[in-house]
């Protein structure tokens, strides 16, 4: 499985959406991505890539695309 597939899968499983819908998601764009859903997403990303994200990055992860950009800091390449 590629990193992009793993990353997309995290959104699919956390928010129970289709992969096609996941790529366009942003914070609070759906009901499930609220503050609690956000922390569940972060925990799932950390688990998937075996990383621990900094608090600033946790707050900055405001969309599917932004998350890909932030994960580069943790040597996750897409």
């Amino acid at each position: 499985m590629t990193n992009l597939e793993k990353y997309t899968n995290v959104f699919v499983e956390t928010f129970e959406v289709d992969a096609s819908e996941a790529t366009g998601l942003a914070y609070q764009s759906i009901l499930a991505w609220d503050s609690v859903g956000h922390m569940s997403l972060i925990a799932a990303i950390e688990d998937a890539f075996d990383i621990m994200m900094d608090t600033d990055d946790i707050i900055d992860l405001s969309s599917f695309e932004k998350g890909k950009e932030l994960l580069a800091k943790y040597d996750v390449e897409f």
Binding site: L31, D34, V36, M39, D47, I58
Partner: protein
């Protein structure tokens, strides 16, 4: 009720104790229709947004009216509801102290007060929002259980236990978002039953709230200097676990660590147990000194009052050198 997976614990850790409380209350509400939330203009800050979205008819925002909130909670409890009323720790314990005394201490209504911002968690909000005298105020009122969880997972456990407990509870929340995990897997929690997290023979540290993690780190530092240190998580200050104290009388120094005034909190509670004994180890009370220092970020305040793990280690080494 709630499946505790690795990712759940990490999610709770990122949320911090306030978010973890809201998470737990939402889960409780699914199974218990009597659960109801009250807040004094702090719904989002209390982590109650998801609860509010799911059960808007079970959330009462009373506005900035903490005293009135206790009275409303008391009325609801007489009707069989289980009210969780949230506000800052100092607003509950100081502004609404008399209402807590009457409705919770005297009338023993089944009210759960959630005091968040215990210690210095409110950071840049400043001294007016710090909760450093709340335990000492509430502890002198009979019949109120005082819970002080060590991390976010324990906050969930304490919230569930508070809902099941018949009688008044004060749930004191400390720390900020991304709080360190003391517990990395599920465990058994019982009100009034302290948890030994680490064994040791020279020193016993009794810590509560966010200071539990700092104390574990201090114990690791002490271990490097050849000092064997036990750490006990006192997640319930009232009723205090006397047996846990009795089990530690053989150490050379007993230390209490709390993010609260050294007057009237955990240290005083432990001292009141020790003073009734003929044979006891000396006690070192580590907590907030009786003065107001300039306000700042959470980490800055811990540093100023000597409550980060390095300062705790230094204080213990100094006192241990005097008594061993």
């Amino acid at each position: 009720m709630l499946e505790i997976k690795h990712t759940t614990i990490r999610t709770l850790s990122i949320l911090g104790q306030r978010g973890a409380f809201g998470y737990a209350l939402n889960e409780l509400a699914k199974e218990n229709e009597q659960i109801i939330a009250l807040t004094s203009d702090l719904r989002t800050t209390s982590g109650l947004d998801r609860f509010n979205n799911a059960y808007p008819e079970r959330v009462i925002n009373v506005g900035i009216a903490e005293q009135n909130m206790i009275g409303i909670a008391s009325g609801l409890s007489t009707l069989g509801f289980v009210p969780f009323a949230t506000t800052f720790a100092n607003f509950a314990s100081l502004r609404a102290c008399e209402q807590m005394r009457h409705h919770m201490g005297y009338m023993r209504e089944n009210i759960k007060i959630v005091g968040f911002g215990g210690g210095f968690a409110m950071g840049m909000f400043g001294i007016t929002h710090y909760g450093i005298e709340d335990v000492s105020s509430i502890r002198s009122i009979p019949n109120i259980a005082i819970l002080s969880p060590a991390d976010s997972l324990e906050t969930v456990k304490a919230t569930i236990a508070a809902a099941q407990h018949k009688g008044p509870v004060y749930l004191r929340l400390t720390g900020v978002m991304n709080q360190p995990m003391v517990y990395k897997e599920d465990y058994d929690y019982e009100i009034g039953k302290a948890v030994q997290l680490r064994d040791g023979t020279d020193i016993a540290i009794f810590a509560t709230g966010g200071m539990v993690h700092q104390s574990l780190q201090a114990a690791e530092q002490l271990d490097k200097t050849g000092i064997s240190c036990k750490v006990v998580n006192v997640h319930t200050i009232i009723p205090i676990d006397k047996q846990a104290i009795m089990n530690s009388l053989g150490v050379k120094l007993l230390v209490t660590v709390e993010e609260h005034s050294r007057i009237g909190g955990l240290g005083s509670t432990v001292a009141e147990v020790l003073t009734e004994l003929d044979e006891k180890p000396p006690q070192l009370l580590i907590g907030v000194s009786n003065e107001y220092k300039p306000a700042g970020s959470y980490e800055y305040m811990l540093e100023q009052y000597g409550l980060n793990f390095m300062s705790i280690t230094e204080k213990i080494i100094k006192r241990y050198g005097e008594v061993k």
